[in-house]
Amino acid sequence: MSDRLLDLSVTDGRLALAAAGSWTADRAGELERLVETAVRRARGVSAVEIRMGGVERLDTFGAWLLERLVRTLRTDGRTAAVLDLPERWRALVDVAHAVNRTPIPRRRFNPLADALARLGETVVGLVRDLLLIVQMFGELTVVALRTALRPWTFRFTSTVHHLDRVGWRAVPVILLMTFLIGCIIAQQGLFHFRRFGVETYVVDMVGILVLREIGVLMVAIMVAGRSGSAYTAELGSMKMREETDALRTMGFDPLEVLVLPRVVALVIALPALTFVGSMAALYGAGLVAWLYGGMSPDIFLSRLHDAISIDDFAVGMIKAPFMALVIGAVASVEGLEVKGSTESLGLHTTASVVKSIFLMIGLDGLFAMFFATIGM
Protein backbone atom coordinates (compact mmCIF):
# COMPACT_ATOMS: atom_id res chain seq x y z
CA MET A 1 0.00 0.00 0.00
CA SER A 2 3.01 2.22 0.24
CA ASP A 3 2.30 3.48 -3.26
CA ARG A 4 -0.85 5.28 -2.08
CA LEU A 5 0.24 8.35 -0.21
CA LEU A 6 -3.23 9.36 0.96
CA ASP A 7 -6.39 7.29 1.06
CA LEU A 8 -9.73 9.07 1.32
CA SER A 9 -12.96 7.64 2.72
CA VAL A 10 -16.14 9.33 3.89
CA THR A 11 -18.19 7.80 6.70
CA ASP A 12 -21.05 9.48 8.60
CA GLY A 13 -20.16 12.99 7.51
CA ARG A 14 -16.53 12.54 8.51
CA LEU A 15 -13.65 12.43 6.05
CA ALA A 16 -10.98 9.95 7.04
CA LEU A 17 -7.58 10.35 5.44
CA ALA A 18 -5.05 7.56 5.82
CA ALA A 19 -1.53 8.62 5.01
CA ALA A 20 1.09 6.09 3.95
CA GLY A 21 4.42 5.68 2.19
CA SER A 22 7.15 8.30 1.93
CA TRP A 23 6.03 11.86 2.37
CA THR A 24 9.25 13.25 0.97
CA ALA A 25 10.59 15.72 -1.58
CA ASP A 26 10.58 13.14 -4.39
CA ARG A 27 6.83 12.69 -4.22
CA ALA A 28 5.90 16.15 -3.06
CA GLY A 29 4.28 17.08 -6.39
CA GLU A 30 2.00 14.05 -6.27
CA LEU A 31 1.27 14.60 -2.59
CA GLU A 32 0.33 18.22 -3.20
CA ARG A 33 -2.34 17.15 -5.70
CA LEU A 34 -3.69 14.58 -3.22
CA VAL A 35 -3.84 17.21 -0.52
CA GLU A 36 -5.77 19.51 -2.84
CA THR A 37 -8.19 16.68 -3.64
CA ALA A 38 -8.68 16.06 0.06
CA VAL A 39 -9.44 19.73 0.62
CA ARG A 40 -12.10 19.61 -2.13
CA ARG A 41 -13.62 16.42 -0.76
CA ALA A 42 -13.77 17.93 2.71
CA ARG A 43 -16.25 20.59 1.52
CA GLY A 44 -19.19 18.29 2.23
CA VAL A 45 -18.17 17.19 5.69
CA SER A 46 -17.72 18.87 9.03
CA ALA A 47 -14.84 16.90 10.47
CA VAL A 48 -11.64 15.48 9.03
CA GLU A 49 -9.22 13.10 10.64
CA ILE A 50 -5.77 12.42 9.28
CA ARG A 51 -4.10 9.21 10.34
CA MET A 52 -0.33 9.46 9.97
CA GLY A 53 0.51 6.03 11.37
CA GLY A 54 1.29 4.45 8.00
CA VAL A 55 3.85 7.01 6.91
CA GLU A 56 7.29 5.49 6.49
CA ARG A 57 9.31 8.64 5.82
CA LEU A 58 8.59 12.28 6.39
CA ASP A 59 10.65 15.34 5.52
CA THR A 60 10.06 19.08 5.45
CA PHE A 61 8.05 18.85 2.23
CA GLY A 62 5.71 16.23 3.70
CA ALA A 63 5.47 17.99 7.03
CA TRP A 64 4.61 21.26 5.32
CA LEU A 65 1.94 19.67 3.12
CA LEU A 66 0.36 18.11 6.21
CA GLU A 67 0.43 21.50 7.88
CA ARG A 68 -1.02 23.17 4.80
CA LEU A 69 -3.83 20.59 4.71
CA VAL A 70 -4.68 21.11 8.35
CA ARG A 71 -4.43 24.88 8.05
CA THR A 72 -6.66 25.04 4.97
CA LEU A 73 -9.26 22.78 6.53
CA ARG A 74 -9.40 24.87 9.68
CA THR A 75 -9.65 28.10 7.72
CA ASP A 76 -12.56 26.54 5.82
CA GLY A 77 -14.28 25.90 9.14
CA ARG A 78 -13.75 22.14 9.43
CA THR A 79 -12.38 20.43 12.46
CA ALA A 80 -9.17 18.62 11.58
CA ALA A 81 -7.32 16.17 13.78
CA VAL A 82 -3.96 14.57 13.16
CA LEU A 83 -3.83 11.11 14.71
CA ASP A 84 -1.16 8.47 15.23
CA LEU A 85 1.72 10.79 14.41
CA PRO A 86 4.91 8.87 15.23
CA GLU A 87 6.83 10.56 18.03
CA ARG A 88 10.04 10.93 15.98
CA TRP A 89 8.36 13.39 13.61
CA ARG A 90 6.69 15.47 16.30
CA ALA A 91 9.48 18.08 16.26
CA LEU A 92 9.43 18.47 12.49
CA VAL A 93 5.64 18.81 12.39
CA ASP A 94 5.84 21.42 15.14
CA VAL A 95 8.39 23.36 13.12
CA ALA A 96 6.13 23.21 10.05
CA HIS A 97 3.28 24.46 12.21
CA ALA A 98 5.21 27.61 13.03
CA VAL A 99 6.32 28.63 9.53
CA ASN A 100 4.69 30.54 6.68
CA ARG A 101 2.58 32.71 8.94
CA THR A 102 3.32 35.91 7.06
CA PRO A 103 2.82 36.39 3.35
CA ILE A 104 5.92 36.62 1.15
CA PRO A 105 6.70 40.23 0.32
CA ARG A 106 6.98 40.70 -3.41
CA ARG A 107 8.63 43.56 -5.19
CA ARG A 108 5.97 45.24 -7.24
CA PHE A 109 6.66 45.26 -10.91
CA ASN A 110 5.45 48.08 -13.14
CA PRO A 111 7.16 48.06 -16.56
CA LEU A 112 6.51 51.73 -17.34
CA ALA A 113 7.62 53.00 -13.95
CA ASP A 114 10.65 50.71 -14.04
CA ALA A 115 11.65 51.92 -17.50
CA LEU A 116 11.29 55.54 -16.39
CA ALA A 117 13.21 54.84 -13.20
CA ARG A 118 16.02 53.21 -15.19
CA LEU A 119 16.14 56.15 -17.59
CA GLY A 120 16.30 58.57 -14.66
CA GLU A 121 18.99 56.56 -12.93
CA THR A 122 21.04 56.43 -16.13
CA VAL A 123 20.86 60.21 -16.60
CA VAL A 124 21.77 60.88 -12.99
CA GLY A 125 24.58 58.33 -13.29
CA LEU A 126 25.91 60.01 -16.42
CA VAL A 127 25.99 63.43 -14.81
CA ARG A 128 27.60 61.97 -11.72
CA ASP A 129 30.24 60.18 -13.81
CA LEU A 130 31.12 63.38 -15.63
CA LEU A 131 31.42 65.27 -12.35
CA LEU A 132 33.61 62.53 -10.90
CA ILE A 133 35.90 62.62 -13.92
CA VAL A 134 36.19 66.40 -13.75
CA GLN A 135 36.89 66.08 -10.03
CA MET A 136 39.56 63.48 -10.75
CA PHE A 137 41.23 65.87 -13.22
CA GLY A 138 41.18 68.56 -10.56
CA GLU A 139 42.62 66.34 -7.87
CA LEU A 140 45.26 65.00 -10.24
CA THR A 141 46.29 68.58 -11.11
CA VAL A 142 46.63 69.45 -7.44
CA VAL A 143 48.62 66.29 -6.73
CA ALA A 144 50.83 66.90 -9.78
CA LEU A 145 51.53 70.49 -8.72
CA ARG A 146 52.27 69.42 -5.17
CA THR A 147 54.66 66.80 -6.46
CA ALA A 148 56.27 69.33 -8.79
CA LEU A 149 57.04 71.55 -5.80
CA ARG A 150 58.55 68.62 -3.91
CA PRO A 151 60.02 66.49 -6.70
CA TRP A 152 61.68 64.05 -4.29
CA THR A 153 58.22 62.75 -3.31
CA PHE A 154 57.53 61.61 -6.86
CA ARG A 155 57.39 57.80 -7.13
CA PHE A 156 59.92 57.30 -9.85
CA THR A 157 60.38 53.52 -9.48
CA SER A 158 56.67 52.93 -9.59
CA THR A 159 56.34 55.13 -12.68
CA VAL A 160 59.08 53.22 -14.50
CA HIS A 161 57.43 49.93 -13.56
CA HIS A 162 54.11 51.07 -15.01
CA LEU A 163 55.83 52.53 -18.03
CA ASP A 164 57.31 49.11 -18.69
CA ARG A 165 53.90 47.46 -18.35
CA VAL A 166 51.73 49.84 -20.34
CA GLY A 167 54.38 51.05 -22.77
CA TRP A 168 57.20 48.68 -23.56
CA ARG A 169 55.21 45.45 -23.22
CA ALA A 170 52.40 46.83 -25.36
CA VAL A 171 54.71 47.43 -28.32
CA PRO A 172 54.35 44.00 -30.02
CA VAL A 173 50.56 43.93 -29.99
CA ILE A 174 50.32 47.60 -31.03
CA LEU A 175 52.80 47.03 -33.88
CA LEU A 176 50.90 44.03 -35.18
CA MET A 177 47.50 45.67 -34.91
CA THR A 178 48.40 48.97 -36.54
CA PHE A 179 50.42 47.22 -39.25
CA LEU A 180 47.35 45.20 -40.20
CA ILE A 181 45.11 48.26 -40.12
CA GLY A 182 47.54 50.07 -42.44
CA CYS A 183 47.45 47.10 -44.81
CA ILE A 184 43.65 46.94 -44.81
CA ILE A 185 43.14 50.66 -45.42
CA ALA A 186 45.62 50.60 -48.30
CA GLN A 187 44.05 47.51 -49.84
CA GLN A 188 40.53 48.94 -49.62
CA GLY A 189 41.69 52.27 -50.97
CA LEU A 190 43.47 50.67 -53.91
CA PHE A 191 40.50 48.47 -54.69
CA HIS A 192 37.98 51.29 -54.79
CA PHE A 193 40.17 54.11 -56.14
CA ARG A 194 41.25 51.86 -59.04
CA ARG A 195 37.79 52.29 -60.58
CA PHE A 196 38.40 56.02 -60.86
CA GLY A 197 42.02 55.58 -61.93
CA VAL A 198 43.32 57.57 -58.99
CA GLU A 199 45.22 54.85 -57.21
CA THR A 200 48.02 57.20 -56.28
CA TYR A 201 45.65 59.10 -53.98
CA VAL A 202 45.67 56.04 -51.74
CA VAL A 203 48.93 57.37 -50.37
CA ASP A 204 47.32 60.69 -49.44
CA MET A 205 44.41 58.94 -47.81
CA VAL A 206 46.53 56.53 -45.83
CA GLY A 207 48.99 59.20 -44.78
CA ILE A 208 46.42 61.70 -43.53
CA LEU A 209 44.07 59.13 -42.02
CA VAL A 210 46.77 57.27 -40.15
CA LEU A 211 48.70 60.25 -38.85
CA ARG A 212 45.74 62.41 -37.87
CA GLU A 213 43.13 59.91 -36.72
CA ILE A 214 43.53 56.17 -36.98
CA GLY A 215 46.99 55.93 -35.46
CA VAL A 216 46.19 57.71 -32.24
CA LEU A 217 42.62 56.47 -31.92
CA MET A 218 43.35 52.79 -32.51
CA VAL A 219 46.32 52.84 -30.18
CA ALA A 220 44.34 54.66 -27.51
CA ILE A 221 41.46 52.18 -27.77
CA MET A 222 43.91 49.32 -27.50
CA VAL A 223 45.57 50.90 -24.49
CA ALA A 224 42.19 51.55 -22.84
CA GLY A 225 41.31 47.91 -23.25
CA ARG A 226 44.69 46.65 -22.22
CA SER A 227 45.89 49.05 -19.54
CA GLY A 228 42.86 51.11 -18.51
CA SER A 229 41.01 47.97 -17.51
CA ALA A 230 44.08 46.68 -15.67
CA TYR A 231 44.34 49.96 -13.75
CA THR A 232 40.69 49.79 -12.74
CA ALA A 233 41.00 46.17 -11.68
CA GLU A 234 44.15 46.84 -9.64
CA LEU A 235 42.86 49.96 -7.94
CA GLY A 236 39.48 48.30 -7.40
CA SER A 237 40.92 45.24 -5.75
CA MET A 238 43.13 47.46 -3.59
CA LYS A 239 40.03 49.37 -2.61
CA MET A 240 38.19 46.13 -1.84
CA ARG A 241 40.98 44.83 0.35
CA GLU A 242 41.16 48.21 2.15
CA GLU A 243 44.70 48.84 0.91
CA THR A 244 43.79 52.40 -0.04
CA ASP A 245 42.40 52.96 3.46
CA ALA A 246 45.60 51.53 4.92
CA LEU A 247 47.60 54.07 2.87
CA ARG A 248 45.39 56.91 4.11
CA THR A 249 45.82 55.96 7.76
CA MET A 250 49.59 56.01 7.26
CA GLY A 251 49.34 59.54 5.98
CA PHE A 252 49.69 58.87 2.26
CA ASP A 253 47.38 60.08 -0.43
CA PRO A 254 46.35 57.11 -2.60
CA LEU A 255 46.13 59.50 -5.53
CA GLU A 256 49.76 60.45 -5.11
CA VAL A 257 51.03 56.94 -4.42
CA LEU A 258 48.86 54.86 -6.74
CA VAL A 259 47.20 57.04 -9.33
CA LEU A 260 49.78 59.67 -10.27
CA PRO A 261 52.54 57.20 -11.29
CA ARG A 262 50.05 55.26 -13.38
CA VAL A 263 48.70 58.34 -15.14
CA VAL A 264 52.18 59.75 -15.73
CA ALA A 265 53.26 56.41 -17.21
CA LEU A 266 50.27 56.47 -19.55
CA VAL A 267 50.89 60.07 -20.61
CA ILE A 268 54.46 59.13 -21.57
CA ALA A 269 53.61 55.76 -23.09
CA LEU A 270 50.66 56.67 -25.28
CA PRO A 271 52.44 59.24 -27.54
CA ALA A 272 55.34 56.82 -27.92
CA LEU A 273 52.99 54.00 -28.85
CA THR A 274 51.09 56.29 -31.20
CA PHE A 275 54.31 57.12 -33.02
CA VAL A 276 55.32 53.46 -33.25
CA GLY A 277 51.81 52.47 -34.30
CA SER A 278 51.54 55.15 -37.00
CA MET A 279 54.87 54.12 -38.48
CA ALA A 280 53.80 50.48 -38.51
CA ALA A 281 50.54 51.43 -40.25
CA LEU A 282 52.38 53.43 -42.90
CA TYR A 283 54.80 50.53 -43.38
CA GLY A 284 51.90 48.12 -43.83
CA ALA A 285 50.24 50.48 -46.30
CA GLY A 286 53.48 50.81 -48.26
CA LEU A 287 53.89 47.07 -48.38
CA VAL A 288 50.36 46.52 -49.69
CA ALA A 289 50.74 49.35 -52.21
CA TRP A 290 53.86 47.62 -53.50
CA LEU A 291 52.71 43.98 -53.48
CA TYR A 292 49.01 44.47 -54.28
CA GLY A 293 48.95 47.80 -56.06
CA GLY A 294 52.29 47.55 -57.87
CA MET A 295 53.48 50.90 -56.57
CA SER A 296 57.21 50.83 -55.90
CA PRO A 297 58.42 51.94 -52.45
CA ASP A 298 60.25 54.92 -54.01
CA ILE A 299 57.06 56.26 -55.55
CA PHE A 300 55.11 55.58 -52.36
CA LEU A 301 57.63 57.52 -50.29
CA SER A 302 57.77 60.50 -52.64
CA ARG A 303 53.95 60.62 -52.84
CA LEU A 304 53.83 60.44 -49.06
CA HIS A 305 56.36 63.24 -48.84
CA ASP A 306 54.14 65.46 -50.98
CA ALA A 307 50.86 64.39 -49.40
CA ILE A 308 51.48 64.93 -45.75
CA SER A 309 52.92 67.79 -43.76
CA ILE A 310 54.40 68.02 -40.32
CA ASP A 311 51.00 69.38 -39.20
CA ASP A 312 49.32 66.02 -39.83
CA PHE A 313 51.90 64.31 -37.69
CA ALA A 314 51.63 66.98 -34.97
CA VAL A 315 47.83 66.71 -34.81
CA GLY A 316 48.06 63.03 -33.98
CA MET A 317 50.85 63.44 -31.48
CA ILE A 318 49.21 66.40 -29.71
CA LYS A 319 46.06 64.39 -29.17
CA ALA A 320 47.86 61.37 -27.69
CA PRO A 321 48.64 62.70 -24.18
CA PHE A 322 45.07 63.97 -23.82
CA MET A 323 43.76 60.52 -24.71
CA ALA A 324 46.11 59.12 -22.08
CA LEU A 325 44.72 61.53 -19.48
CA VAL A 326 41.18 60.46 -20.31
CA ILE A 327 42.07 56.77 -19.99
CA GLY A 328 43.97 57.34 -16.76
CA ALA A 329 41.32 59.52 -15.14
CA VAL A 330 38.41 57.26 -16.08
CA ALA A 331 40.29 54.14 -14.99
CA SER A 332 41.15 55.72 -11.64
CA VAL A 333 37.63 57.04 -11.02
CA GLU A 334 36.14 53.64 -11.77
CA GLY A 335 38.76 51.80 -9.73
CA LEU A 336 38.21 53.96 -6.67
CA GLU A 337 34.42 53.65 -7.05
CA VAL A 338 34.58 49.87 -6.55
CA LYS A 339 32.56 48.74 -3.54
CA GLY A 340 33.07 45.65 -1.41
CA SER A 341 31.81 42.98 -3.77
CA THR A 342 33.51 41.18 -6.62
CA GLU A 343 30.57 41.87 -8.94
CA SER A 344 31.21 45.56 -8.45
CA LEU A 345 34.83 45.06 -9.52
CA GLY A 346 33.72 43.40 -12.75
CA LEU A 347 31.12 46.06 -13.49
CA HIS A 348 33.52 48.93 -12.94
CA THR A 349 36.25 47.32 -15.04
CA THR A 350 33.84 47.01 -17.95
CA ALA A 351 32.53 50.53 -17.37
CA SER A 352 36.07 51.87 -17.32
CA VAL A 353 36.82 50.63 -20.85
CA VAL A 354 33.45 51.62 -22.30
CA LYS A 355 33.47 55.10 -20.80
CA SER A 356 37.07 55.91 -21.71
CA ILE A 357 36.57 54.82 -25.33
CA PHE A 358 33.37 56.85 -25.55
CA LEU A 359 34.99 59.94 -24.05
CA MET A 360 38.05 59.60 -26.28
CA ILE A 361 35.93 59.56 -29.39
CA GLY A 362 34.02 62.60 -28.14
CA LEU A 363 37.30 64.34 -27.42
CA ASP A 364 38.59 63.42 -30.87
CA GLY A 365 35.57 65.15 -32.39
CA LEU A 366 36.29 68.30 -30.39
CA PHE A 367 39.91 68.20 -31.51
CA ALA A 368 38.83 67.83 -35.15
CA MET A 369 36.75 71.02 -34.86
CA PHE A 370 39.52 72.82 -33.03
CA PHE A 371 42.22 71.94 -35.54
CA ALA A 372 39.94 72.79 -38.46
CA THR A 373 39.30 76.21 -36.91
CA ILE A 374 42.96 77.03 -36.44
CA GLY A 375 43.74 75.67 -39.89
CA MET A 376 45.99 72.83 -38.87
Binding site: A28, D59, A91, V99, E343
Partner: protein, 260 residues
Protein backbone atom coordinates in the same frame (compact mmCIF):
# COMPACT_ATOMS: atom_id res chain seq x y z
CA UNK B 1 35.55 2.22 16.17
CA UNK B 2 31.83 2.16 15.40
CA UNK B 3 29.21 1.62 18.00
CA UNK B 4 27.20 -1.51 17.10
CA UNK B 5 24.04 -0.89 15.16
CA UNK B 6 25.22 2.47 13.89
CA UNK B 7 24.88 2.75 10.17
CA UNK B 8 27.97 3.90 8.30
CA UNK B 9 27.15 6.94 6.19
CA UNK B 10 30.55 8.18 5.07
CA UNK B 11 33.57 5.91 5.02
CA UNK B 12 37.02 7.10 4.01
CA UNK B 13 39.87 4.62 3.68
CA UNK B 14 43.55 5.40 3.05
CA UNK B 15 42.73 8.53 1.14
CA UNK B 16 45.59 10.30 -0.64
CA UNK B 17 44.85 13.72 -2.07
CA UNK B 18 46.62 16.95 -2.90
CA UNK B 19 47.38 19.57 -5.54
CA UNK B 20 50.15 19.31 -8.08
CA UNK B 21 53.29 18.04 -6.40
CA UNK B 22 52.17 18.59 -2.83
CA UNK B 23 50.40 15.79 -1.04
CA UNK B 24 47.99 17.26 1.46
CA UNK B 25 46.32 14.12 2.75
CA UNK B 26 48.21 10.86 2.91
CA UNK B 27 46.39 7.83 4.26
CA UNK B 28 43.32 9.42 5.82
CA UNK B 29 40.72 7.01 7.24
CA UNK B 30 37.53 8.22 8.83
CA UNK B 31 34.01 6.96 9.47
CA UNK B 32 30.86 8.98 9.97
CA UNK B 33 27.75 7.25 11.26
CA UNK B 34 24.14 8.19 10.75
CA UNK B 35 22.81 10.94 12.92
CA UNK B 36 26.08 12.15 14.39
CA UNK B 37 27.79 15.52 14.19
CA UNK B 38 31.43 15.04 13.41
CA UNK B 39 33.78 18.00 13.77
CA UNK B 40 37.04 17.99 11.87
CA UNK B 41 39.83 20.13 13.30
CA UNK B 42 43.46 20.73 12.44
CA UNK B 43 45.96 23.51 11.96
CA UNK B 44 45.33 26.06 9.21
CA UNK B 45 46.36 24.71 5.84
CA UNK B 46 46.48 21.12 7.08
CA UNK B 47 43.84 20.01 4.57
CA UNK B 48 40.53 19.97 6.40
CA UNK B 49 38.76 21.67 3.54
CA UNK B 50 40.66 19.45 1.10
CA UNK B 51 39.19 16.42 2.88
CA UNK B 52 35.70 17.87 2.67
CA UNK B 53 36.10 18.82 -0.97
CA UNK B 54 37.52 15.40 -1.82
CA UNK B 55 34.59 13.62 -0.19
CA UNK B 56 32.03 15.64 -2.11
CA UNK B 57 34.03 15.12 -5.30
CA UNK B 58 35.23 18.66 -5.97
CA UNK B 59 38.85 17.52 -5.82
CA UNK B 60 40.16 14.37 -7.44
CA UNK B 61 41.85 11.83 -5.22
CA UNK B 62 45.05 9.97 -5.99
CA UNK B 63 44.16 6.77 -4.22
CA UNK B 64 42.02 5.38 -1.45
CA UNK B 65 38.33 4.65 -1.12
CA UNK B 66 35.45 6.90 -0.26
CA UNK B 67 31.97 5.54 0.25
CA UNK B 68 28.88 7.60 0.86
CA UNK B 69 25.77 5.54 1.71
CA UNK B 70 27.85 2.52 0.74
CA UNK B 71 28.61 3.75 -2.77
CA UNK B 72 31.76 5.25 -4.19
CA UNK B 73 30.75 8.60 -5.79
CA UNK B 74 33.66 8.47 -8.23
CA UNK B 75 32.52 5.15 -9.68
CA UNK B 76 28.90 6.04 -10.20
CA UNK B 77 27.39 6.99 -13.54
CA UNK B 78 26.04 10.48 -14.06
CA UNK B 79 22.47 9.62 -13.13
CA UNK B 80 23.34 7.70 -9.97
CA UNK B 81 25.73 10.46 -8.98
CA UNK B 82 23.03 13.09 -9.29
CA UNK B 83 20.77 10.95 -7.15
CA UNK B 84 23.55 10.67 -4.58
CA UNK B 85 24.27 14.40 -4.65
CA UNK B 86 20.64 15.06 -3.84
CA UNK B 87 21.17 13.29 -0.55
CA UNK B 88 23.78 15.74 0.67
CA UNK B 89 23.98 19.50 1.05
CA UNK B 90 27.12 21.61 1.30
CA UNK B 91 27.52 24.90 3.12
CA UNK B 92 30.58 26.69 1.81
CA UNK B 93 32.72 28.95 3.91
CA UNK B 94 31.61 32.18 2.24
CA UNK B 95 28.10 30.92 1.66
CA UNK B 96 28.56 30.72 -2.13
CA UNK B 97 25.10 32.11 -2.77
CA UNK B 98 24.39 32.86 -6.41
CA UNK B 99 24.85 36.59 -6.52
CA UNK B 100 22.27 37.27 -9.21
CA UNK B 101 19.43 35.44 -7.47
CA UNK B 102 17.36 36.55 -4.50
CA UNK B 103 17.52 34.65 -1.20
CA UNK B 104 14.28 32.86 -2.04
CA UNK B 105 15.46 31.93 -5.54
CA UNK B 106 18.74 30.67 -4.09
CA UNK B 107 16.88 28.27 -1.83
CA UNK B 108 14.54 27.26 -4.63
CA UNK B 109 17.33 26.63 -7.11
CA UNK B 110 17.99 22.98 -6.14
CA UNK B 111 14.23 22.29 -6.00
CA UNK B 112 13.68 23.81 -9.40
CA UNK B 113 16.44 21.68 -10.93
CA UNK B 114 15.76 18.39 -9.19
CA UNK B 115 12.04 18.24 -8.51
CA UNK B 116 8.93 19.16 -10.43
CA UNK B 117 6.83 21.09 -7.99
CA UNK B 118 4.20 23.75 -8.28
CA UNK B 119 5.41 27.28 -7.83
CA UNK B 120 3.22 27.70 -4.76
CA UNK B 121 4.73 24.68 -3.03
CA UNK B 122 8.28 25.78 -3.88
CA UNK B 123 7.59 29.24 -2.46
CA UNK B 124 6.08 27.83 0.69
CA UNK B 125 8.79 25.26 1.33
CA UNK B 126 11.56 27.75 0.56
CA UNK B 127 10.07 30.25 3.03
CA UNK B 128 9.70 27.42 5.53
CA UNK B 129 13.40 26.61 5.14
CA UNK B 130 14.36 30.25 5.57
CA UNK B 131 12.24 30.44 8.71
CA UNK B 132 13.76 27.20 9.98
CA UNK B 133 17.23 28.76 9.80
CA UNK B 134 16.00 31.71 11.79
CA UNK B 135 15.24 34.24 9.07
CA UNK B 136 11.89 35.78 8.27
CA UNK B 137 10.04 36.30 5.05
CA UNK B 138 11.42 39.83 4.65
CA UNK B 139 14.77 38.49 3.34
CA UNK B 140 13.05 36.63 0.49
CA UNK B 141 13.49 39.23 -2.22
CA UNK B 142 16.92 40.47 -1.14
CA UNK B 143 19.97 39.61 -3.22
CA UNK B 144 23.11 38.35 -1.43
CA UNK B 145 24.91 41.69 -1.56
CA UNK B 146 22.09 43.19 0.52
CA UNK B 147 22.51 40.60 3.28
CA UNK B 148 24.86 40.61 6.26
CA UNK B 149 27.50 37.90 6.74
CA UNK B 150 25.41 36.00 9.27
CA UNK B 151 22.31 36.15 7.08
CA UNK B 152 24.29 34.91 4.08
CA UNK B 153 25.40 31.88 6.08
CA UNK B 154 21.83 31.20 7.11
CA UNK B 155 20.47 31.50 3.60
CA UNK B 156 23.28 29.24 2.41
CA UNK B 157 22.35 26.71 5.08
CA UNK B 158 18.72 26.91 3.98
CA UNK B 159 19.89 26.23 0.42
CA UNK B 160 22.01 23.30 1.57
CA UNK B 161 18.90 21.92 3.27
CA UNK B 162 16.60 22.67 0.33
CA UNK B 163 16.10 19.07 -0.75
CA UNK B 164 16.04 17.67 2.80
CA UNK B 165 19.40 15.96 2.49
CA UNK B 166 20.58 13.26 4.84
CA UNK B 167 24.11 14.63 5.18
CA UNK B 168 25.21 18.23 5.39
CA UNK B 169 28.80 19.26 4.97
CA UNK B 170 29.66 22.51 6.72
CA UNK B 171 32.90 24.29 5.94
CA UNK B 172 33.70 26.57 8.87
CA UNK B 173 30.08 27.47 9.56
CA UNK B 174 30.84 29.95 12.33
CA UNK B 175 33.92 31.63 10.81
CA UNK B 176 33.38 35.36 10.49
CA UNK B 177 30.39 35.47 12.85
CA UNK B 178 30.43 37.29 16.17
CA UNK B 179 30.31 35.07 19.29
CA UNK B 180 26.58 35.59 19.75
CA UNK B 181 25.87 34.86 16.09
CA UNK B 182 28.19 31.87 16.21
CA UNK B 183 26.48 30.47 19.31
CA UNK B 184 23.08 30.92 17.65
CA UNK B 185 24.36 29.14 14.59
CA UNK B 186 25.63 26.26 16.73
CA UNK B 187 22.24 25.92 18.37
CA UNK B 188 20.60 26.08 14.97
CA UNK B 189 22.76 23.26 13.63
CA UNK B 190 22.02 21.13 16.65
CA UNK B 191 18.28 21.80 16.45
CA UNK B 192 18.10 21.11 12.73
CA UNK B 193 20.17 17.98 13.16
CA UNK B 194 17.70 16.69 15.72
CA UNK B 195 14.58 17.79 13.88
CA UNK B 196 15.61 16.53 10.47
CA UNK B 197 17.76 13.62 11.61
CA UNK B 198 20.79 14.94 9.75
CA UNK B 199 24.29 13.59 9.69
CA UNK B 200 26.67 16.53 9.89
CA UNK B 201 30.30 16.65 8.79
CA UNK B 202 31.75 19.97 9.78
CA UNK B 203 35.14 21.55 9.42
CA UNK B 204 35.73 24.13 12.09
CA UNK B 205 38.19 26.08 14.15
CA UNK B 206 35.66 27.14 16.70
CA UNK B 207 36.30 25.50 20.08
CA UNK B 208 32.89 26.60 21.29
CA UNK B 209 31.19 24.85 18.37
CA UNK B 210 33.18 21.72 19.06
CA UNK B 211 32.06 21.79 22.68
CA UNK B 212 28.49 22.70 21.95
CA UNK B 213 27.45 20.53 19.05
CA UNK B 214 29.95 17.88 18.04
CA UNK B 215 29.40 14.26 19.06
CA UNK B 216 32.84 13.27 17.88
CA UNK B 217 35.91 15.15 16.80
CA UNK B 218 38.47 14.07 14.21
CA UNK B 219 41.90 15.63 14.48
CA UNK B 220 43.89 16.05 11.29
CA UNK B 221 47.66 16.34 11.64
CA UNK B 222 50.69 15.04 9.76
CA UNK B 223 48.52 14.50 6.67
CA UNK B 224 46.24 11.97 8.38
CA UNK B 225 43.55 11.66 11.01
CA UNK B 226 45.53 11.13 14.18
CA UNK B 227 42.60 10.59 16.49
CA UNK B 228 38.81 10.48 16.54
CA UNK B 229 36.72 10.67 19.65
CA UNK B 230 34.44 12.72 21.85
CA UNK B 231 35.55 15.94 23.53
CA UNK B 232 36.51 14.09 26.72
CA UNK B 233 39.00 12.01 24.75
CA UNK B 234 40.50 15.16 23.24
CA UNK B 235 40.94 16.72 26.65
CA UNK B 236 42.58 13.55 27.94
CA UNK B 237 44.93 13.22 24.99
CA UNK B 238 48.69 13.56 25.41
CA UNK B 239 49.44 14.49 21.84
CA UNK B 240 51.22 17.86 21.96
CA UNK B 241 49.16 19.48 19.20
CA UNK B 242 45.86 18.27 20.63
CA UNK B 243 46.93 19.44 24.08
CA UNK B 244 47.77 22.92 22.89
CA UNK B 245 44.63 23.12 20.73
CA UNK B 246 42.06 21.99 23.27
CA UNK B 247 43.78 23.08 26.46
CA UNK B 248 45.56 26.18 25.22
CA UNK B 249 45.03 29.77 26.27
CA UNK B 250 41.85 30.18 24.28
CA UNK B 251 40.05 27.13 25.57
CA UNK B 252 38.08 27.48 28.73
CA UNK B 253 38.81 24.05 30.13
CA UNK B 254 41.89 22.58 31.75
CA UNK B 255 44.01 25.22 33.38
CA UNK B 256 42.45 28.55 32.49
CA UNK B 257 45.16 31.05 31.72
CA UNK B 258 43.92 34.58 31.96
CA UNK B 259 44.73 36.93 29.16
CA UNK B 260 44.51 40.52 30.27
Amino acid sequence: MLAPGNELVIGVRDLVSGFGDTTVLDGVSLDVTRGEILGCVGASGIGKSVLLRTIVGLLPRRSGRITVFGEDPARLGARARRALERRWGVLFQQGALFSSLTALQNVQFPMREHLSLSRRLMDEVAVAKLEMVGLDASVCDKIPSELSGGMIKRVALARALALDPEIVFLDEPTAGLDPIGAAEFDTLIKTLQQTLGLTVFMVTHDLDSLHAVCDRIAVLADRRVITVGPMSAMLASDHPWIRSYFRGVRSRVGEPVRVA
